[in-house]
């Protein structure tokens, strides 16, 4: 091994501690700010905790910010959860089936379907935002969960991942299943779905975070405050015309808004890293 000794090792830890500090500092300050009442923050935010932590979290969860419409944050978080689950599960459902059709069937037009789907690879919703919004508006999707979810669930990436994975399934397995008497549906349910379980779980983690963290699309497709998602709703609290933002409460919302994805990332770290690295490669 190329080992590091004494000073070198100490330096390595110093660099990593510095990195960790950069990452954690904004979160720490946000948490501290949440623990104070509004007037304490003016001038400069203190660097140690106050007494109001629970109270501020409770306030935003149940009442929201009065200046920004007063929608309780738990409503927004509920919307975020529905959107994130809808996007993650929707993407997985339509991708796994599409990939199955492309890999395990031969029919005319298969190549065309393949091209049609994969041409959308890497094309984020942001670039075609205006016409997509018009489509959603024509479909009466404004202020609906369908509007939050459906336009975002077409995913060449997930289809591609499943396709790659399916192609590593030995073809004898399909042959054996056919001789055992399984048709395409049974093969899908009994063999392909169980074999993709780990990949699906990893993908789900990544897609859940992707869904939860959507911003521009919810911004466009929701007008009613009761349909706001938490990630998108926070900008209304920061940019209140003619009012001083209530930073202690805003930071509480920010922390709540990142909590679910954070729990997922840290709680399912292995799965998450795997999902991330494999979806992109």
């Amino acid at each position: 091994m190329v080992e590091k000794k004494g000073l070198g090792r100490a330096l390595s830890h110093a660099v990593l501690l510095f990195g960790a500090a950069i990452v954690l500092f904004p979160l720490y300050v946000a948490l501290v700010a949440t623990s104070h009442s509004y007037d304490v923050l003016i001038g400069t935010t203190p660097l140690w905790f106050g007494q109001e932590l629970i109270k501020n979290f409770t306030t935003v969860l149940t009442q929201g910010l009065k200046a920004a419409g007063g929608i309780p944050v738990w409503v927004m978080m509920g919307n975020s959860l529905i959107m994130a689950l809808g996007i993650a599960l929707g993407k997985i459902a339509i991708s796994i089936t599409a990939a199955y059709a492309i890999v395990f069937f031969r029919f005319r037009g298969r190549e065309l379907c393949f091209v049609l789907i994969f041409i959308t690879l890497m094309m984020p919703v942001e670039v075609r935002i205006v016409p997509t919004f018009q489509v959603a508006a024509n479909l009466n999707f404004i202020d609906s969960y369908a509007g939050l979810i459906l336009p975002l669930i077409a995913s060449a990436t997930a289809t591609f991942l499943y396709r790659q994975m399916f192609m590593t399934i030995p073809q004898e397995l399909l042959e054996a299943a056919r001789i055992d008497g399984a048709g395409p549906w049974r093969f899908f349910v009994d063999v392909v779905l169980p074999l993709s379980r780990t990949n699906t779980a990893a993908l789900f983690v990544v897609l859940f975070i992707y869904g939860w963290n959507q911003y521009l699309w919810p911004l466009l497709v929701t007008n009613q405050e009761s349909m706001y998602t938490v990630v998108m709703g926070i900008q209304r609290m920061v940019n209140i015309p003619d009012a001083v933002p209530e930073w202690n409460l805003i930071m509480a919302v920010a922390l709540l808004g990142m909590l679910p994805p954070l729990l997922v990332v840290l709680g399912m770290q292995k799965l998450f890293v795997r999902g991330l690295v494999e979806t992109e490669k």
Binding site: E175, A176, D180
Partner: protein, 363 residues
């Protein structure tokens, strides 16, 4: 139980004729081995019987059912694959019984059959294991168990032993024979290994480039090969084939040596004269100080039980040895040195004569 008949089977892949005009019958309860070099069409033939490939033309009969256009599952066959094709996410029990489950066979019946098969194959303690926890030999057995529980009328084997190491292969070969003796189910077995073919088969089908070269018992194929190809493919080392001349009931080597051991009369070509191809197996050339064939020893391989000597005729140009080299099987104790000149006799009655043009056996 059923016999299998192929009638005028043709199979074409992208204009490549892989099988042409295949006609054969596998008798009920027999063990038939299809053998041939890679690309000869043996796997394709098996897959056509299984229904994994559609034949281009012709008819496949299993028993008295025409199965040519049936799905694999309706043909009442079971297949064992080269890489076992076990479902990696199912344990041994589920692997074995999956085919029964799909067919709607009740759970207690599935269990009965699975336990019976497990006992037969020595898988008793392994039913809860996952495939990845099994050794190669055990996986092979599970694959067979999966075929057995189905109680099909035909077993199909696609090179099932080729992923095993040599020892295990020998052992599994014997188990396969025992199994066949017990179950007596019609079996069709594909291999490129002629030892497997000889030891397992009741009937051997030698395929070459999509057509039948010979179809017969192992003895037929070994003792009376129908062509130079079969003669050289079956048996190790390969049969020696030399150019010779038949004249007046005698056989002469190109250098004029008259063979005393092999007489035309012994091998039924008395009436024939002119150029022929003479086939002599390595064990049919005997070390004999009085022998009429003189050869120079090139390379000696001592195998323990016997010794293989790669020789060339004295008259041959040593630079071009490969064209006319002859392999001789000597007793293990006989160890000529490279460069020695030795004398050989062809064993009486053991020559094979082939036509120089058609390469077919002369009767």
């Amino acid at each position: 139980m059923a016999n299998v008949r192929l009638i005028n089977i043709d199979k074409t892949f992208n204009k490549n004729k892989v099988l042409s005009g295949l006609n054969l019958e596998v008798p009920d309860g027999s063990f038939m081995v299809m053998v041939g070099p890679s690309g000869c069409g043996k796997s394709t033939a098996l897959r056509c019987i299984a229904g994994l490939e559609e034949v281009t033309s012709g008819t496949i009969m299993i028993g008295d059912k025409d199965v040519t256009h049936m799905e694999p599952k309706d043909r009442n066959i079971a297949m064992v694959f080269q890489n076992y094709a076990l479902y990696p996410h199912m344990n041994v029990y589920d692997n074995i019984t999956y085919g029964l489950k799909v067919r709607g066979i009740p759970a207690d019946e599935r269990k009965r059959r699975a336990l019976e098969a497990a006992k037969l194959l020595g898988l008793d303690g392994l039913l809860e294991r996952m495939p990845r926890q099994l050794s190669g030999g055990q996986r092979q057995r599970v694959a067979m168990g999966r075929a057995i529980v189905r109680e099909p009328s035909v077993f199909l084997f696609d090179e099932p032993l080729s992923n095993l190491d040599a020892n295990l292969r020998n052992q599994m070969r014997i188990e396969l024979r025992r199994l066949h003796q017990r179950l007596a189910t019609t079996s069709i077995y594909v291999t490129h290994d002629q030892v497997e073919a000889m030891t397992l088969a009741e009937k051997i089908l030698v395929l070459r480039a999509g057509h039948i070269e010979q179809y017969g018992t192992p003895d037929d194929v070994y003792l009376r090969p129908a062509s130079v190809f079969v003669a050289q493919f079956m048996g190790s080392p390969s049969m020696n084939i030399v150019r010779a001349k038949a004249e007046g009931g005698n056989i002469f080597l190109p250098d004029g040596t008259k063979l005393s051991g092999v007489q035309a009369a012994d091998i039924n070509i008395s009436g024939r004269s002119g150029d022929i191809l003479l086939g002599l197996r390595s064990e049919d050339l005997i070390f004999d100080p009085e022998g009429d064939i003189h050869v120079t020893v090139d390379i000696v391989e001592a195998l323990g039980s016997d010794t293989l000597a790669y020789c060339r005729p004295l008259s041959a140009n040593p630079e071009k040895q490969e064209s006319s080299s002859v392999i001789v099987r000597l007793q293990g104790s006989q160890r000529p040195a490279s460069g020695d000149v030795i004398r050989l006799t062809a064993r009486k009655g053991h020559g094979h004569v082939f036509d120089t043009e058609t390469q077919l056996r002369c009767l």
